[in-house]
Symmetry: C2
Subunit: 409 residues, 2 copies
């Protein structure tokens, strides 16, 4: 949580942190501004002081809305710095930033965060390290201080994620109602205008329903059918008509425009009826999904649940990335990921050997087992977003029925 | 343009470039994939070879859709690398990437790009430099190779930006129609349900109209009134009713979800009538806007137009950031910026002493003079997106009327 940051600085022997960038790409910066949007900002937080936020003059009001102590970039005149550095903007920027850090009394081990061009960050921080003899520039490996702080959510964050889950459930309801409103002809759904209902039509409908609820489709949602459902990140082909009896993976992960928090939920269903073999596969995925949910406990290692899922699928004869690292069929991904201001964040429910995270109160994460056989024309995944509240109780933030078949016609 | 990249590599003495990240945050990566979306990818381009794209197995189909030569990350087994490095994921990742670059024969001066955590990028590229004796890790200052390549658009890019401009004009038409559909009571607009029309209502309407056209509001649009219009990046207060006779700045800059290109347009208008003093200010802004557009020519320095605008406003007695670097009133920003896969990119129409860019065919940029006096309760900005086509002809990509007053009631 945010108020863990001073403690995390101490544990990592950091005397200060510097977070630079814009809040639309840096979720760490957005985390610290409380979601207030800024395009060109830097936040400097000495362990023994209150944080200070630098913004451009034209964003001074957004800056003030954060409640943080505010300073403006134009206290430092870039053009004067450029004159002093033969119009070399890079050298001028380094000198300006050195003076800015100095004006806040920053020294010692300083961690740098925020999002930027990789090569520029390397060049800039290398030059800053050379220009600031009293500062040790620290670039953290992952998981870094923000991964650690952000993985546990406070009650306001849990409520925000629950709310985006509730609104997303309304959108899923709408999609199912749209599907059921069509008439069936052969194995297709036919709209009032005589055209078959396509994946593109469904996605256009989803976009409108999201916009009505102030939800953003930051990353393209997945509505994939048949063989496409067999490739986990295939988002679906817009011109493909929906067909009866195909596995359809509907994976939707919008962000609330106001709170800035994501949710993530997947359902797999068949229109009309499921072929018996695929109904059995669906039940297998649902069985391990239920088994994992029933066993989730604070204090358990995250890796336990991925191993449990791999054990289950391997016993049934499916390959996993544990048994066959290069497999693209069977169960070829990890069990889940944290959800918050990023769609993928800590904790990870994977089986990497360095994953020593234990589930704990405040964790928000997905559980999403799946099976994928594109060459056989199907894929199945079931996913909810879950949380442990402050008391360690499991909360289902998705809270949506698991229907294998949507009756049509 | 994209096919300038090999020449730009040569000019910058780069033997190869490496672009890593996800296409939702790295517009350089999206530029190279042609807009195909990827979450975890790396593109490696040796100057003397075809580029190669690395993707995760679950994104292999998206990767193939780029038309680039494709390899998968899972050729390299991270878990085996971790075993060889005492489960240190950072060290394993560096070693893996070293071998990956080696497998493509990368050596010499190598530029690194793409978006990532600043501190991690510094640490990772420092470690990679140490691990790869045959590679010189280059982090470019700005403007870098991609700034240079992307600032000139080919005909397909121009068409994409023109199309998002056309769709945005429809949205502005819709907003004006919404405003004119309300009845007037005192100085407010009253909706059919008896409630005043607020900025929040207008913004909700805009979001729906954008969604209907497959446009994304990546950064929050500006619909600001009165004193708020006097602060350039104030996006407007949702609960504020629209009022007659106030300056309203409507600055809208959506991205097309399919093409991935932005447009940017601003109109300032008054409902019912403009107070005479503000009508005069509006005309002043429009006068310099027109004067700049009439003078735009390929071959002219970008700085010329900012100086021309500062001359004009200073002659009228307004402060500018040229005459008073810390001013927050008068004309406190630069004249314009490039528009493409980023809302702000090269070229810049500013007066920084290192800005030696000449306007040229393929440039797409805004012209947006403005005046801001929040304490007097007003702000005015007029902005279009413009381009030079391959023949050097100026094209207005916004192509929308300039109405100072919207008749209501």
């Amino acid at each position: 949580m945010k108020n863990d940051i001073p403690r995390l600085m101490q544990e990592r022997h950091l005397d200060a942190i510097v977070v630079q960038g814009d809040t639309d790409t840096s979720s760490d910066l957005a985390y610290l501004t409380g979601g207030v949007k800024l395009e060109g900002a830097a936040l400097i937080w000495r362990r023994d002081a209150e944080p200070v936020l630098f913004t451009t003059p034209i964003e001074r009001e957004n800056g003030a809305a954060t409640g943080l102590r505010l300073r403006l970039w134009n206290e430092f005149n870039l053009i004067e710095y450029m004159k002093a550095h033969n119009n070399d903007r890079f050298a001028a920027t380094v000198a300006l930033f050195r003076d800015l850090l100095d004006s806040e009394g920053v020294s010692g081990r300083v961690g740098f965060y925020g999002v930027g061009d990789r090569g520029y960050s390397y060049r800039f921080l290398s030059a800053l390290a050379a220009a600031c003899p009293t500062i040790e520039v620290v670039g953290e490996a992952l998981p870094n201080l923000f991964n650690a702080a952000r993985q546990t959510k406070d009650s306001a964050e849990l409520a925000a994620i629950q709310e985006v889950g509730r609104l997303t459930a309304e959108v899923i309801d709408g999609v199912i109602a749209l599907i059921q409103a069509q008439r069936v002809q052969d194995d297709r759904l036919i709209q009032a205008d005589g055209h078959p209902l396509t994946i593109g039509d469904v996605k256009a409908f989803i976009r409108l329903e999201l916009a009505r609820r102030n939800l953003e489709e930051v990353h393209e949602n997945i509505f994939s059918q048949g063989r496409d459902a067999g490739v986990p990140h295939n988002a679906g082909q817009p011109d493909m008509p929906l067909r009866l009896g195909q596995s359809i993976i509907f994976d939707i992960f919008p962000r609330h425009r106001q709170s800035g928090y994501f949710t993530d939920i997947t359902r797999t269903f068949f229109l009309g009826a499921a072929p018996p073999e695929l109904a059995q596969r669906w039940q297998q995925v649902k069985t391990i999904f239920d088994a994992v949910l029933a066993e989730l406990r604070p204090g358990q290692p995250c890796t336990h649940y991925q191993h449990m899922t791999c054990d289950y699928f391997e016993d049934l004869g499916y390959p996993t990335t544990r048994s066959q690292p290069k497999t693209m069929v069977g169960y070829p991904h990890s069990l889940g990921h944290g959800v918050g201001r990023d769609i993928h964040e800590s904790p990870s429910l994977n089986h990497l050997p360095d994953n020593d995270t234990l589930l704990q109160p405040g964790h928000v994460f997905t559980v999403e087992p799946g099976l994928y056989y594109p060459d056989e024309g199907w894929g199945i995944r079931i996913e909810d977003s879950l949380a442990f509240d402050a008391a360690g109780n499991l909360i289902n933030l998705s809270n949506y029925p698991y229907e294998m078949v949507i009756p049509v016609g």
